[in-house]
């Protein structure tokens, strides 16, 4: 019980320290925690909180789902096929280090200012990590599993669905969890530039329209909390028994 309370106690102590420091300091560098709570209250009252959270989650969902649907099958095929891997790998390695944010001008050129641009940027942010995860997962399948599958007379389609797919699932889930975190990072940045709703927009707008730093920090807190909840959701997938095994257990 005490162990479980420890992080809560730590957060409470930091909040008090924050309140005290801001009150004593002559120059206004940060809103107080109370002001932030007030800011969240304001947003709730105007119905903006729910609207912005939904807007951001909507973009993340589309970008992430598109990324999964395209990158995972492609990665599995490339990872499976040595020649395809040799052909694609240099291109992937060149495109991968480019931050999705560098694509912002091109996204706006192609899709205009709006949801499509933001979704495209999130999709880019998800695509390469997922592609590499899928490629590595296929390459990492121990040969004994594939040989055993062949030995029992599985045809290629059955080999994919009954051996290859279950063998890569644990690694895919870990990759998807990390990538969802990336998507959540990218949505905030994309919303600062390409759209006029969402939590990223809230932060930029609160500063531009009257230096409402209480709303800025309120936006940051909400981003953090939702990021945590998304991660918890993905972690609960990892707890499913038939998915939870891993090679390292032997």
């Amino acid at each position: 019980m005490i162990v479980r309370l420890r992080p809560i106690v730590l957060i409470a102590v930091l909040l008090v320290a924050w309140q005290v420091a801001v009150t004593w300091h002559p120059i206004h560098l940060l809103p107080t925690p109370w002001a932030v709570v007030g800011g969240i209250g304001d947003l709730l009252q105007h119905g903006l909180l729910l609207k912005y959270v939904v807007a951001s989650l909507f973009r993340v969902t589309w970008g992430f789902v598109l990324g999964v649907v395209l990158a995972v099958p492609l990665g599995l095929v490339i990872g499976w096929n040595r020649r395809a891997e040799m052909a694609f790998n240099p291109l992937i390695q060149i495109l991968r280090p480019i931050s999705p944010l560098a694509w912002i001008p091109i996204a706006i050129l192609w899709f205009g200012v709006g949801d499509l641009s933001a979704i495209f940027l999130i999709f880019l942010g998800c695509f390469f990590p997922l592609l590499l995860t899928a490629m590595n997962a296929v390459r990492g399948i121990p040969a004994v599993y594939l040989n055993a599958g062949r030995n029992f007379g599985l045809r290629p389609a059955a080999l994919v669905s009954r051996v290859l797919f279950p063998a890569v699932i644990p690694q895919l889930i870990v990759g998807m969890r990390i990538t969802l975190g990336v998507a959540w990072l990218v949505v905030v940045a994309a919303e600062m530039i390409a759209v006029n709703s969402g939590l990223g927009f809230l932060i930029v707008d609160a500063r531009n329209a009257g230096n409402r730093y209480d709303l800025v920090v309120a936006g940051m807190v909400i981003i953090g909390v939702i990021g945590l909840l998304l991660d918890l959701g993905m972690r609960s997938l990892e707890q499913v028994k038939s998915l939870r095994w891993s090679y390292s257990e032997d």
């Binding site: 599993y145 040989n147 030995n151 007379g153 038939s242 032997d250």
Partner: protein
């Protein structure tokens, strides 16, 4: 000897890597009768696992051929199952799911009946719904043997199946394997580097030389089961094989 099950004829295998070719198997010829238990004996790295994989159809020989029931082996086949060290069980399936893996062509009641039969045979009752990471090494090994037997193959290839087990579990597993073999009379090719294991189990022991592997000698083990491992005949055969290994590998 009973009807010939497996024939290996002038088998040569050369591995090529980075432009360098390494001969692994050199002119191996061998006949195995139906229902026979044969051990391939040699030190690690001598090529005995390569020979076994070639017999099972996972590797193609450079020249020569393997015939089973008179047909040239061209790939793996569910009529002959390869048992890896216990790492071969699928960790994403339960004990039941693993045993049922090769039974997809059966109806549901047939499948359930056969799974139950083999769970009982290898003593895994009570663990039907368990996943392999929750099993001990010996249990995983029994599970893999049960999965192999469930498809009713006429041959089993075992590649140092008990190598990763502790010495007591290994003794128990040898007894279990003999019991199953006596009940089902499959043809078994068993790879090991353990002289005692070979002499305890096999009808014939094929002693292999260092790489490139050739057959140094084939020893008939003419002791009926259950074998008394302190009998003079047992010790004589074991010491004979030990000397052969010494000659072959200059120890």
């Amino acid at each position: 000897m009973a009807k010939v099950k497996l024939q290996v004829e002038h088998l040569h295998t050369v591995f090529t890597r980075d432009g360098k070719s390494t001969p692994v198997l050199e002119d191996i010829s061998l006949e195995v009768g139906e229902g026979e238990f044969v051990c391939l004996l040699g030190p690690s790295g001598c090529g005995k696992s390569t020979l076994l994989s070639t017999m099972a159809g996972f590797l193609s020989p450079t020249s020569g051929e393997v015939k089973i029931d008179g047909e040239v082996v061209s790939g793996p086949d569910p009529r002959r199952i390869f048992v890896f060290q216990e790492r071969g069980v699928f960790p994403w399936l339960t004990v039941e799911g693993n045993i049922a893996f090769g039974l997809f062509h059966l109806t549901r009641p047939e499948r359930e009946q056969r799974v139950a039969h083999y769970i009982k045979m290898v003593g895994l009752e009570g663990f039907e719904k368990a996943y392999p990471p929750a099993l001990s090494g010996g249990m995983k090994q029994r599970l893999e043997v049960a999965r192999a037997l469930a498809v009713n193959p006429d041959m089993l290839f075992l590649d140092e199946p008990f190598g990763a087990l502790d010495s007591i579990t290994r003794l128990i597993m040898r007894g279990e394997l003999l019991r199953i073999w006596e009940a089902e009379r499959k043809t078994i090719i068993f790879v090991t580097h353990d002289i005692d294991e070979a002499v305890q189990l096999a009808d014939r022991v094929v002693v292999m030389s260092a790489r490139p592997a050739t057959i140094q000698q084939i020893v008939d083990i003419d002791i009926p089961h259950p074998r008394d491992i302190s009998s003079s005949r047992y010790l004589e055969l074991r010491d004979g094989i030990f000397r052969q290994i010494g000659l072959a590998h200059r120890i």
